[in-house]
Chain length 566, copies 2
Amino acid sequence: LEPPFSHTPNHSLSYWCVLFQGVGGGWIEAQNSRGEVGLVPEDYIELPGGGGNVGHVAAPVAAHAPDLSFFDAFAAPASNGKDPWSVWNQDTTGGSSNNWAAQPEGTITGTITGKSAAPDPWGSTAQSHPQAYQGPGAEDDEWDDEWDDVKSNSESGDGGAIQRGGATGSSMKISLNKFPGFSKSGPELFLLCKQPPKGKEKITIYMGEVGPVWSYPEAQLDCVVADPKKGTKMYGLKSYIEYHVIPNTTNRPVNHRYKHFDWLYERLLDKFGSAIPIPSLPDKQVTGRFEEEFIKMRMERLQGWMTRMCRHPVVSNSDVFQLFLTYKDEKDWKTGKRKAEKDEDVGVMIFSSIEPEAPDLDPIEVEQKCDQFSRFTKAMDDGVKDLLTVGQEHWKRCTGPLPKEYQRIGKAFQNLSSVFTSSGYQGEATLTDAMTSAGKTYEEIAQMVAEQPRKDLHFLMENNNEYKGLLGCFPDTIGVHKAAIEKVKEGDRLVAASKITPQDKVTMAKRVSTMSYALQAEMNHFHSNRIYDYNRVMQLYLEEQVKFYETIAEKLKQAHSQFTTM
Amino acid sequence: LEPPFSHTPNHSLSYWCVLFQGVGGGWIEAQNSRGEVGLVPEDYIELPGGGGNVGHVAAPVAAHAPDLSFFDAFAAPASNGKDPWSVWNQDTTGGSSNNWAAQPEGTITGTITGKSAAPDPWGSTAQSHPQAYQGPGAEDDEWDDEWDDVKSNSESGDGGAIQRGGATGSSMKISLNKFPGFSKSGPELFLLCKQPPKGKEKITIYMGEVGPVWSYPEAQLDCVVADPKKGTKMYGLKSYIEYHVIPNTTNRPVNHRYKHFDWLYERLLDKFGSAIPIPSLPDKQVTGRFEEEFIKMRMERLQGWMTRMCRHPVVSNSDVFQLFLTYKDEKDWKTGKRKAEKDEDVGVMIFSSIEPEAPDLDPIEVEQKCDQFSRFTKAMDDGVKDLLTVGQEHWKRCTGPLPKEYQRIGKAFQNLSSVFTSSGYQGEATLTDAMTSAGKTYEEIAQMVAEQPRKDLHFLMENNNEYKGLLGCFPDTIGVHKAAIEKVKEGDRLVAASKITPQDKVTMAKRVSTMSYALQAEMNHFHSNRIYDYNRVMQLYLEEQVKFYETIAEKLKQAHSQFTTM
């Protein structure tokens, strides 16, 4: 057996044995080296240059890779441990004991990492949050398990994702794309490509006040995700939720289901993932008693995700994103969809579209910048997770023991008041009315305390949760750069070993400079958004906190006014 | 061996054997039926009519009791269980499962109960309160263990209390008085006394708007307990704290030590305890690292006790209380002290001084009133204890986990702020300054939360603690009345058995009416004080709570103003 996915670091997929070819719909049943059985798309196992012939023994798919062993050399450092940060960040991380160690082994690509390493949106104890992710293995969402339905299969082999429980019950997700040689840990594809593809969209980087910046549009794209509606298909056997997505450019709503968002996500990830961290979508969830709550929560998070994508000048300007927001009819959508799925300008090749309007950078400066961003994102990731943990505990207290205590105080006052009422003493009423009222006030405060987190802490948590997801993509985005830097560093050795030409070495240095500009532009985009987001969410949080404490003070003032010392 | 104290319900003191007569200073070493050894005053063990002869075998001290077996008959119902309320309140209490079951067996007299049954001033979990009672068995307070010192002994046989660790290590306290026949459960002493003692002070009861009321003075007596000063004696071997007590009548401070307050307490208990619940003093405590805190706390509680005594028209008008507040010099004090200790108008005989200016009550009405007060005080005792428990838990949360959480939130904000500072991005300062400031605000809030209970909950707790102590005296005060009612009910049987004459029976009915007026006047006094106290303490509590929440809102408003979404 050959190792067809040896260029991907996902060990569980290293060896595949085709078990059954006749599954239909473009799928093949296969078994990996761990004995796990699953479906893989037919075209994924095509031999290089093959035209649809599927062999019983799967061959390497890394057909377009200039040098397979070369790829392995690049892939190695990125898959050598459980902590993707530790590869280039050993000076700042605490080794395997840090949070990143919790990521699944071998999941290196940014988005797979993002999706599978964050089963808990608010840290490991998030289950108690009423809106928190309801546990892993919830792939069978009745609205979303349609990747294998008739309609989807007829559209295949699309570049979707396989989501299947294997024989061991574990699920796996293979990120596919039409450029099979692509690997995020293989930037040499761009560094060494013979000439940039022609007729590309150009992505310009300017020198702004803060350094390299993307080219921002004059009017910022925005959209609203709203009006979730339940639909059914297959004679009511399957139901799903469809959302309106209304861009501010057309003001015309288009309909999308979660699986469309997921499709868009996959496209964006394939296309921009090497240069731009594409945060994963809100997790799929099991449905249950909290359908309303769940739909609201998912919509809120899809809105957050779309807002972030709209705000990104490169992403929002892309054909696939525009298609998603402004398709005219079903036919338009399907045509655009097919076109997007055939886009070969994905993976590290995105850098070939990028044109920095600035002089080439020195490799030392490139490395410094890369290290700086790496340190920063790692530190921020820690800080964000810390805040999430603290917020999580505060949420628990505010919705658990604290309101219970205020309620008991309220009850104790009312209880004493009713004892006093039984005294038979004249002129008791003023005190007992006041004490009952004070007691009720504390019961109201209990209620307020319990409800407050949804009004303020919720948004602080959601914001930080979003940033946790975004930061979780950086190890991979930065990893591409780090790998490129290492490649350039090896330039002399590679020339000496005749792996590359001296001209290749010069080209690589120039191209790594372009990559660095892209990283800097992205970091500056990140920083500016971060500053905006944290200002906004802190304002909102503190505003609601002020209201909360002022309301309590006002209520207590009223309770106070009823007591009288004659 | 004769049972010298059989008329008292304290089993542990039933039998005494004089061990050693030559202790000196008016004391005799004796051993009780449990083998516990302690000192008892010489004159306490005098035989009836004896002139200082002490026998090796102690004889009954109940010399003045008209009929010992008769006394036993009365004593029985009050000592038949662990729950003093259950005797006359079985309809409202839940049997032995209620709080009162926790009282030490056999401690029946109100003040002994008050002192020994309340080792925890704020309920059973009060230890964690920084100012809470620091555990039982703390009798050896270096400032207060002077009942047996040279000076005290030279003043003996005073009517102080013996506080000694017995052979078993347990301590006991004997309430002594100069009227050895006195027992709170023996109201027949008053009901059947031949003629009221002459030349008494009269205590008048009027019919007020709310029913029977004591005669209140025009100007209410008040005093300030202040300026605790450390004094030493015995060449510095012993130190003690002396307080200034300044009555509003003279504005002249007199000096008193804790033991003087304790002496006053004993006098008031002996003299008024059958008619008026005399709350016990703040407990003796071990001293330790918190001397300052302890002195402040004791002073505050002595102040509370004195204020309550000053407010009582009967207590505050008494010679002994006036002596305590206004003695001119040491000689005056000693003279007055000796006189007070020789006062024979104590125990149930206080009722003979009481003159209700209203028609005699029907025994049925007497019983109804008694039951009503009993139910009320029991219910209030439950309510107060409930509030103390709740308050105790709230105190713990406010000084423990809650501020820690706010501190962690504050740290998380500041931590994230310092990460942001490291971004190297321009224009970061406004956000990071604002986030640092918000973080510090939450640390300030943490501090405020931790300190707040001392500003508001403390007074609510102290007030309820005071009421808990006061309510703990009611079972005994009401018990005297209940016993008297039972006595009157037995009137016919006693006449038939020739235990009393028919005239005695008539007299008893009249006198039990007087007792009922006293109880009603006292309950009305209690109610009026209770309404004042609870209004006042709730006002104070809510006022401080309002300030607290307003301050937090104000701080957060300031923190909020530093954020800006440009």
